[in-house]
Each structure stands twice: as structure tokens, then as C-alpha cells.
Amino acid sequence: MKTLQTLALALRTLWRNPLRTLLMMLGVAIGIASLTTMTSVGEATKQQTLREFKNMVGTFDVVNISPGGGRTRGMPSLTTVEPTLKFADAAAIAAELAGVRQVAEVQNAFDIDVKYRDNTTASAMYGISANWLEMHSYFVAAGNLISADDIQSLARVAVIGPDVSRELFPGEDPLGKQIRVGNVPFQVKGVLESRGAGPGGSSLDNIVFIPVTTASKRLFNRDYLTTITVQLDNPDEPDPVVADITALLRERHGIVPPGEDDFTINNPRAAALRVSNVRSTLSAVLAGTAGIATLIGGTVIMGLMLVAVSERRREIGVRRAVGATRGDVLSQFLIEAALVSALGGVIGIAIGVSAAVVVAVQRALPPVVLWQAVGGALLLSVAVGLVFGLQPAWKAARVDPIDALRS
């Protein structure tokens, strides 16, 4: 008997026993549906996490150096960091190390009062070198960014985030206006485009940028940095550069073994991947559970097929009498099991993909469907049918036609 005919026969048998077929498909369909949903939502969550990180950090091709040996909790700020990282360190890294594209300097603080006439708001304050904004993909909605000239001349200019603009200048054009930051007057030079929310959900737009030199000399009166941002030539291989930076800074800071580093180097992309991997481990566990559900679906198929073989002994006898070999009977039942399982799988994929899309829409995730996972799910369902169909099919093939035909 040809495979195509066996397939047609199996399809007809399934079609003519709708209730049994439905029951057999149910377990596999549920398992595959959860498997498809889990993997798709898991992947979407991972991509979403990476995107949020990238949005917050602005770039993934950098490493950030912050002062202090231990990992400081939260974002470094002038009030919390040790005064070990100097402007000269940044210059040395830029001048001496290979694999470094450019170096940016940051001196930042949080909750600084910013005023315009009677309006006051508290925002994050970033003194930055001109290349920092460009490295982190900041764009102005109006006006201009901080320029190299501003850095050189210690200009008292500021670029403000949309939140600050809204708080201080309701219904007014902020460009050219004078704001006061800690009682030092700054002229608003530009208003940034909105970046929305970071991974924690807080706004990234409540921020003021000023030249790092101005911040150091005229605002904070501090000569150390909170962060040095080093842009790499090859962001995929940060380790050699990180090693070089470590060696250079230890030498510059006069640290000898066993003395520990008085700075910390962070790789935002590695951090983002760590976080997103924690989340995808969770979804892998859930997917494993869904896989087990699929196997339980397989045992349902096996049980119902075994019952079906007993009920269909006479049919088997008739087929054997008119010329079916044991192999014909075996493949008939095996293909029936594989087919019902595959159909359950297809239904499960349809439900799973729909559920993944619904979840994605509800939670504003990117609509990710992992087609490898869908293909894998389909293969899994066929395999489940074949494996769990083997015993019933074997039992069917062993039916003695003489016994089966005896009425």
C-alpha cells in the first residue's frame, strides 16, 4: 500500500470518528499551544528588554568606567562616587590605547533644582563632552546640541529634555531663555527629542545637559568624573580593551598587587544580555513544562489508540483477509497516530501563535513569532504521534485474522 493512500485512509478514519479524534488531538494541541506561546512571548520579552536597555543607554558599542572598586548600586552620581577618576585619565585612554574610537567624559548629579522665573523642577544634570550626546544617539527637536566650542569656552549653555521643557516653559519657546541651575544661569541652546521610558518605566526625558567643563569649573567645582565612556572599535570583542584600560588606570593610579582596582568597568550590552537571559531562562522552564504537557498528550493518544485497536479487531481481520500484510496494518495505525498528533499540533500552533500575538499587543511587546519554534513544535507533535502510536500499531499488526474474523 502506498504512503499517500495510507495517509488518505488515516484521514478518512479520523474524520469518521470525530469525537475520538478530537479527544486524541486535545492533549497535544494544549501542549503545543503553550509551547508556542511560551517561546514566542519569551523571545519577545527578551528582545523588548534589550531594546529598552539600548534606549536607555543609547548605545551598545561602549564600556563605561566609573570610580570606586565595589560595584556601586544604581547610577553613579557626584555625591556618591569616590574622587578617583580624573579628566586626565580620560585623555590618557584616548591617547594611548588601541581599539578605542573615542572617549567621552561625564560629570552628573541627580535631583538638581532647575528654575525659570517662578517655575522650578528637579532633574538629572549631566555635564558631558560634546561627543557623548552623539555616541548615545541624542537628537534635538529644536535648537542645537552641546558643541566642542562650548566645551572649550566653558559656555553656560544647556540642552534640556522634553519633560524639563514642559515643566519650565509651558506654552513658551525655551530656546535662548535663561534658566538657573543651582543659581548659575544657563542659556537654553536646544530641546531634545523624547526617548520615552527606560526599563524601570521612569522617564528618560527629565534631564539637562551642559558642557562637562562648565559643570566642573562653574557648577559643581569638582575635578573628578562620574563616568568615562569609551567607544570601542570592535564592540563584539570588548575584553582586550577592557584589560588595557584596567592596566593603564592601575598604573596611573599607582595601584600595585594586591591592591584592588579603584574603578569599575561596565559593559552595558553584557549587562542587558544578563538581564534578558534571566528572563529567557524563566520562559525556558515554562516551555519545558509545556513540552511535558505535549508528552502527556501523547499518552492520551496511546491510550485511545489501544482502545481503538481492540474495537477495530474485525476491521483489521477483514483487511488482513483481503491482502493487508502486518506491515500494512502497522503503518496504517502508526500514520493514523502521527496524523492525529500532527493535526493536534497544527491546532496548537494556531492557538499558540494567536495567544502570543494577543499577549504581545496587551503588553506592548514586539510581535515575535519564532518560526523555528513553530517548526520544532510541528516536528515534536509528529514525533509524539509516532512514538506513542508505535505500541498500539504493533498490537494491531499482531492481531490474528482468524480470531478477529470469528464472529
Binding site: 500500500m1 502506498k2 493512500q5 485512509l9 469518521r16 470518528n17 474485525r314 476491521e315 481481520g317 477483514v318 483487511r319 488482513r320 483477509a321 483481503v322 491482502g323 493487508a324 500484510t325 502486518r326 506491515g327 500494512d328 485474522p401 482468524i402 474474523l405 470469528r406 464472529s407
Partner: protein, 233 residues
């Protein structure tokens, strides 16, 4: 040509003793003969039928079909013999449920390994007078109609021999007579027919009778039909 030489069949019972179902059975049935195998139940009819039908193998002895010794064929080889050389007709029809008349008739072709021939099944249903029932499910047919579907199925691969086991046992006399007339027609077309029965009246359609008793052939006799074969039509 069916040749049986010294067929023996013994079964191993649960308690270890063996039971002889057939003992030294020999006969020859020529091509185109209409033979009944008659005997009381338990006499060995079924065992003999299973061996003639290649559903079972003898413990010893030789069974030849068209000169070919099939007595020690493998399961797969016997499947092929059943498929192509023997048409089975059962007392309880043994049609597949939830299946149409036509699909039942086509069944032997499915296992022949060739492309299904729709026309052949239609033609055979016409031959047994059921062309208007081709698409009916088996459950919608009367007993007589079901047996005619079974006969059409037996003819699907055009086997030289039909093996009928009490074909009228589940039918009323009118339907039974119609079936016997159909078998007689098929015999007159040149097919060998072996009919297993305990029914004297049914046996009367045949030219020859093998009487089996306690596992041995008690009588092998020619008989002239009790009633004239009704004219075809």
C-alpha cells in the same frame, strides 16, 4: 487447481495436550468446480477453510494452489496470495463500518499496490445489482445488499477462487437464494467456488460435496443439483 495432500492440523491446548483438528486430509479441486465443504460444527470445517484461504498453515502435509506449494509461505507471502488469488465471502459479511459500499469493494485493490481503479468497483457493484448504492454507507444497506457488496469486493482483484463461509447464514431465504443464484452465475463464468456450510439446501447448489467429520474427509461425492440452476438475468 487446489491440491491438498495429507493435511494435518494440530493445536496446542492450554494444558499442554494437543488436539487434532484435521487428519490426513487429501483432495483435489479442479479449476471451475463448485464444491461445498459440509460438516457439523467442530468437525474441522473452519480449520480447513482457513488453510484453503491461506489464513493458516497446516502442521504437516502439502497445500498447492495452481501447482505452487503455499503450505509454508510466510505471513507476507500468504497475504499476497489472499489478495490476488482468493475472494473471501463471510457469513457476517465483514464489511468495514462507516465506509461506503464502493470503498469496501475497492479494499483489495488498495493492498494490491496498484493505482486504484474506480471504474472496476463501479462495474462490480453493477454486476451484483447495486449500482445505485455505491455511495451508501454499509449501515444503510440490508443484509442481502451487504452480502452482495462483499461478493463484489471478493471479485475486485479478479481471483480464480471464491471461498464462501456460510454466505447465506445470516440472510432470510429470499435474500439467501439471490446470493446463491449470484454465486451460481459466477461459477458458470468459470470461477472455482468453495463453499463451506452445514446447510443441506445450500450444499445442493454445488456439483460436488466434501463431507468432513471429526477432522477427516468422510465422503467426497459428486451430486447433481437438487434444483435447476435458475437462468441468468
Amino acid at each position: 487447481m487446489i491440491e491438498a495432500e495429507h493435511l494435518e492440523k494440530t493445536y496446542q491446548r492450554g494444558d499442554g495436550r494437543s488436539v487434532t483438528a484435521l487428519h490426513d486430509v487429501s483432495f483435489v479441486i479442479g479449476d471451475g468446480e463448485f464444491v461445498t465443504v459440509r460438516g457439523a460444527s467442530g468437525a474441522g470445517k473452519s480449520t480447513l477453510m482457513n488453510i484453503i484461504g491461506c489464513l493458516d498453515t497446516p502442521t504437516s502435509g502439502v497445500y498447492r494452489l495452481a501447482g505452487e506449494d503455499v503450505s509454508h509461505y510466510s505471513d507476507q507471502q500468504r497475504s499476497r496470495v489472499r489478495n490476488q488469488r482468493i475472494g473471501f465471502i463471510f457469513q457476517s459479511f465483514n464489511l468495514l463500518p462507516r465506509t461506503t459500499a464502493e470503498e469496501n469493494v475497492e479494499l483489495p485493490a488498495l493492498y494490491r499496490g496498484e493505482a486504484p481503479d474506480r471504474g472496476k468497483a463501479t462495474e462490480l457493484l453493477e454486476r451484483v445489482g447495486l449500482s445505485d448504492r455505491a455511495d451508501h454507507f454499509v449501515s444503510e444497506l440490508s443484509g442481502g445488499e451487504q452480502q452482495r457488496v462483499a461478493i463484489a469486493r471478493a471479485l475486485m482483484n479478479d481471483p480464480p477462487m471464491l471461498l464462501a463461509d456460510e454466505p447465506t447464514g445470516n440472510l432470510d431465504s429470499a435474500a439467501g437464494n439471490a446470493i446463491m443464484d449470484l454465486l451460481t452465475d459466477l461459477h458458470r463464468e468459470g470461477r472455482t467456488i468453495v463453499l463451506v456450510t452445514h446447510d443441506e439446501e445450500v450444499a445442493a447448489y454445488a456439483q460436488r460435496e466434501l463431507l468432513i467429520r471429526d477432522g477427516v474427509i468422510a465422503a467426497d461425492r459428486a451430486r447433481s443439483p437438487l434444483r435447476p440452476v435458475s437462468e441468468a438475468g
